[in-house]
C-alpha cells in the first residue's frame, strides 16, 4: 500500500473509565458551585485561575510527565479522557490548557534542568499560564516567514518585532516563541529560527488586545522592543527550531479538542427534539453521531500510537483535517435541523444562543493549529506526492 494508514481499534483501559467518573464528578461539583455554566460557552470568565489550581490539585495537569517535575507518570490515554471530559463540559481550561498540552512538553525536552525544576511543578499545580508565539503579521501559517529578530548581546539576546494572533498573551506568565536568529539559507528556508522561553510580565513587551468576531477577547498583538532573553532561556538548537516545532504537532493536532469545540450544540439539539424526533431530525442526528463516533475512534487510535512512542504525523493531520471541518460544519447542520424543532421546546433560547455563538466561532476552527490547506499539504507529502 502506498499510504499504509492504520487506525487500530484502541480501547480505553479500565483505569480510564475510573478516571472518567472522577472527572465527571469533579466537573459536576464545579458546575453546582457556580464556577462555570456548561450551557454558556460564550461567557467571559474563561480564565478562572482558582479552577485551574483545583484541576492541578486533582493531579490532572502534567499527567504524563515525570514525577520529579511534579508530573504523574500516567498514560496518554488517561490524559485523553480528562481532555475530552473538560471539553464536553465546556470547562474554563484556557488558563492551563496550552501549558499542559504543548509548552510543558517543549520545556521537558529542551529546557535546562533548573528551568524545568522551576516551571514544570508550577504548571502541574495550575499556577502558570502559557501562550505560543508563532504567527507574525503577514506570516500566519507560513512559520518560516517569521521575521522577529533575536540579536546576540551580552549573556543573551535582544528581541525586536511583533507576534500576532497570540491567544491568552494578556493573561500568560510565559510564552514559548520562535524568533529569527539567522537569515534562511538558499538550501533551507526553514533554517535560522530558534525557540525561546519568554517571561511575559517584563519591560520591553507590550500586549495589545484584538477583539474577535464572537465578541470575546482572546487574541493579542505582542510587541517586543529591545526585550532581553538570557542564554539559559534558549530552548533546543540555535537556528533549528523548525525541527522541534514540527515534531510536537502530533500532540496538538489529534486530540479531542480538535473535534469537540462546538459539540454543545449537538447535545442541545437532542434535548430540543425530545424523545420522539421526526424522521428528518432523527436521520440528521444519527449521521452526526456516526461521524462524531468515527472521529473519536480515530483520535483515540492516534493517542494509542503516541502512547506506543510513535510519531503519527500524517494520521494526526488527517484527524485534525476531518475533525475541524466537522466541528465547523456542525453548528450549520444543527441549524438546519433546528428549523423543525417545536416552538415550545424548553431549551429553545439556549439552543439559539449556542448556535449563534458556535456559528461565529466556526471560521477559526480550520485555522488554529495549522490551516486545512497546510494539513492537506502534510498529508499529501505522507502519500508520496511531494
Amino acid at each position: 500500500m502506498t499510504a499504509a494508514l492504520r487506525f487500530d481499534p484502541i480501547r480505553l483501559p479500565p483505569e480510564c473509565e475510573k478516571l472518567r467518573k472522577e472527572v465527571r464528578a469533579f466537573l459536576a461539583d464545579e458546575i453546582a458551585a457556580g464556577t462555570f455554566d456548561p450551557h454558556k460557552p460564550n461567557r467571559e470568565d474563561t480564565d478562572a485561575p482558582e479552577f485551574s489550581r483545583r484541576v492541578g490539585e486533582r493531579g490532572w495537569l502534567g499527567m504524563t510527565w515525570p514525577k520529579k517535575y511534579g508530573g504523574h507518570e500516567r498514560s496518554f490515554l488517561e490524559r485523553y479522557v480528562v481532555t475530552e471530559e473538560m471539553r464536553v463540559a465546556n470547562a474554563p481550561t484556557r488558563r492551563f490548557f496550552v501549558a499542559d498540552r504543548q509548552s510543558g512538553p517543549v520545556l521537558l525536552k529542551y529546557a535546562p534542568e533548573h528551568i524545568k525544576m522551576d516551571i514544570l511543578p508550577r504548571i502541574c499545580r495550575g499556577e502558570v499560564c502559557f501562550a505560543i508565539g508563532m504567527s507574525e503579521p503577514n506570516s500566519g501559517s507560513d512559520l518560516f516567514a517569521a521575521k522577529t529578530k533575536a540579536t546576540r548581546t551580552d549573556g543573551g539576546y535582544l528581541i525586536n518585532g511583533t507576534k500576532i494572533w497570540t491567544s491568552s498573551a494578556h493573561i500568560a506568565d510565559y510564552m514559548i516563541a520562535i524568533f529569527r536568529t539567522s537569515p534562511p539559507t538558499k538550501e533551507n528556508r526553514r533554517h535560522g529560527l530558534t525557540q525561546f522561553l519568554v517571561k511575559m510580565k517584563q519591560p520591553g513587551i507590550q500586549v495589545n488586545p484584538i477583539g474577535q468576531i464572537t465578541g470575546q477577547y482572546e487574541f493579542n498583538e505582542v510587541v517586543f522592543t529591545d526585550y532581553f532573553v538570557p542564554d539559559d532561556h534558549v530552548l533546543g538548537e540555535i537556528d533549528g527550531a523548525w525541527k522541534q516545532a514540527t515534531s510536537e504537532l502530533a500532540y496538538e493536532r489529534s486530540g479531542p479538542e480538535r473535534f469537540l469545540e462546538t459539540y454543545y450544540v449537538l447535545t442541545e439539539l437532542v434535548r430540543a427534539v425530545g424523545k420522539n424526533p421526526d424522521t428528518r431530525s432523527a436521520e440528521g442526528i444519527g449521521r452526526l453521531v456516526a461521524q462524531l463516533h468515527t472521529m473519536r475512534r480515530m483520535s483515540v487510535s492516534v493517542a494509542g500510537m503516541l502512547q506506543a512512542g510513535k510519531e503519527p504525523v500524517v494520521e494526526a493531520s488527517i484527524v485534525k483535517d476531518i475533525g475541524t471541518v466537522w466541528e465547523q460544519q456542525l453548528p450549520h447542520r444543527v441549524r438546519d435541523l433546528a428549523a423543525f424543532v417545536e416552538e415550545n421546546a424548553t431549551n429553545r433560547e439556549t439552543l439559539e444562543n449556542q448556535l449563534s455563538f458556535a456559528i461565529k466561532t466556526a471560521p477559526k476552527l480550520t485555522i488554529q493549529g495549522g490551516t486545512t490547506e497546510v494539513l492537506r499539504g502534510i498529508i499529501a507529502r505522507g502519500l508520496g506526492l511531494r
Partner: protein, 354 residues
C-alpha cells in the same frame, strides 16, 4: 487484529493476489477467473471461516474472518465469499451445519420480512439479496409467532429473479412461497433481524473500507504517472488536496469499520454501545464511499470512467455495498431515534463508552 499474525488473513491475501488480480479479472470477459478463485477459497476453508468445526466449518475467530473481509474489499472480490461467510455464521447461531458451496443470506434489507408459517414452511420476499442466483443454499432468518427462527433453504426451492447491483454483481429478489426448509431451528434468545443486519453491515463496512484503500492507492499511483500541462498531476496542489481528502475518507472508513469489527468480535451483548459501533460504521463507510469514490474518479479523469480501467471495480462496488443490510440513511434514522430516546445527557456517555 494484527494482520501480520493472522494466518487466515494471510492465506486470503495470497489467494486474492494470485487469483483475483483486478486487471486480469477486468480483461476476462468470459468470467473464467471465477471457478479457480472459488475453488482455492473453498480449499482453504475461507467461505465457512465462521462456522465451527463440528458444523462443517473451519472454526476461525470472528476477528480472523473480519480481516478476510477487509482483504476481500481491497481486491473488490466479486464472488459470494462475504455472503457465504455470513450465511455460515447465521446458521451456526442455531447450530445448523453448513453445506458446501456458495450461499447467501435473506433478508438482506431491514424492511423485508420472511415468515415461518404454522405448517413449518417459509413465506415472504427479500429484495436485493446479493449473489442469490449464484447460491446453492440460502440461510434465512424468519419471524414467527414464537420469535425468530434460522433456516437453511435450497436456492432451487425459491423463486429468484435476477437483478444487477451497481457494481455489476447479482442483487436478486428471492420469493419464498411455502418453502420447506432443509433445516430449521429457533434463533438464540435476543437474536433478531437487527442482529443480522448489523452483522451484515459490519461486513459491508469492512469491504467498503478495503475498496477505499485500493482506490487511494491506485489514485496516488496514477497521479504520479499522468502528465498534464507538462508536469505530473500529483504536483498540482489542487490534486494533492483532493488526494489528501480521499486519504481522510479512506482513514475514516477504516477506523469506523475496524472499530465495529473489533466491537463485534469482543462483545458480549448487543447493547447500545455495540449498536452505535455497527450502525456508525455502516453510515460513515457509506458516506466515505460516496465522497472518496468521487475523488478517485476525479483524479483519474476520463480513463477512470472507462470499462477497460479497473477503478470501477472498486468505486461501483463500494457504492453498491452501501445498500446491503440497511443503507446509511436507514441506520442514521435508527441511531438518531436511539440517541433521542436515551436523552441529551446520555449522548456523550454513549459516545465515550469505550
Amino acid at each position: 487484529m494484527a494482520e501480520s499474525e493472522n494466518i487466515v488473513a494471510e492465506t486470503a491475501e495470497k489467494i486474492f493476489a494470485d487469483l483475483a488480480d483486478a486487471q486480469t479479472i477486468n480483461s476476462d470477459k468470459k468470467g473464467s477467473w471465477k471457478a479457480p478463485l472459488w475453488q482455492a477459497l473453498s480449499d482453504a476453508g475461507l467461505p465457512l471461516a465462521w462456522v465451527p468445526e463440528d458444523c462443517n466449518g473451519s472454526g476461525a475467530s470472528l476477528a480472523e474472518g473480519f480481516s478476510v473481509l477487509s482483504a476481500a474489499g481491497r481486491f473488490a472480490v466479486a464472488v459470494p465469499l462475504a455472503e457465504t461467510m455470513l450465511a455460515g455464521w447465521l446458521l451456526a447461531q442455531a447450530r445448523i451445519a453448513s453445506p458446501d458451496g456458495e450461499m447467501t443470506v435473506a433478508p438482506a434489507s431491514p424492511k423485508d420480512r420472511i415468515t415461518l408459517n404454522a405448517n413449518g414452511t417459509l413465506s415472504g420476499r427479500a429484495r436485493g439479496v446479493p449473489f442469490a442466483k449464484a447460491a446453492k443454499h440460502i440461510a434465512v432468518l424468519a419471524g414467527g409467532s414464537n420469535g425468530f427462527s434460522i433456516a437453511l433453504v435450497e436456492a432451487g426451492a425459491c423463486r429468484i429473479e435476477a437483478g444487477l447491483g451497481l457494481g455489476g454483481d447479482n442483487s436478486d429478489t428471492v420469493t419464498l412461497a411455502n418453502v420447506r426448509p432443509v433445516a430449521i431451528k429457533p434463533a438464540p434468545k435476543g437474536f433478531d433481524q437487527t442482529s443480522l443486519m448489523l452483522m451484515g453491515g459490519v461486513a459491508r463496512s469492512l469491504q467498503i473500507a478495503g475498496a477505499l484503500e485500493s482506490m487511494l492507492e491506485i489514485s496516488v499511483r496514477y497521479s504520479n504517472e499522468r502528465v498534464a500541462f507538462e508536469k505530473k498531476i500529483s504536483k498540482f496542489q489542487a490534486v494533492q488536496h483532493n488526494l489528501a481528502k480521499l486519504a481522510g475518507e479512506s482513514a475514516a472508513a477504516l477506523a469506523a469499520a475496524t472499530s465495529a469489527a473489533d466491537a463485534v468480535a469482543n462483545s458480549i451483548a448487543f447493547d447500545d454501545a455495540f449498536f452505535l459501533e455497527a450502525a456508525a460504521a455502516k453510515i460513515r463507510c457509506s458516506e466515505a464511499a460516496e465522497k472518496g469514490g468521487a475523488i478517485a474518479h476525479q483524479v483519474h479523469g476520463a480513463i477512470g470512467f472507462t470499462i477497460e480501467h479497473i477503478l470501477h471495480r472498486y468505486s461501483l462496488r463500494a457504492l453498491a455495498w452501501r445498500d446491503d443490510f440497511g443503507s446509511e440513511s436507514y441506520w442514521a434514522v435508527e441511531l438518531g431515534k436511539l440517541v433521542a430516546d436515551r436523552g441529551a445527557d446520555e449522548l456523550w456517555p454513549l459516545v465515550a463508552s469505550r
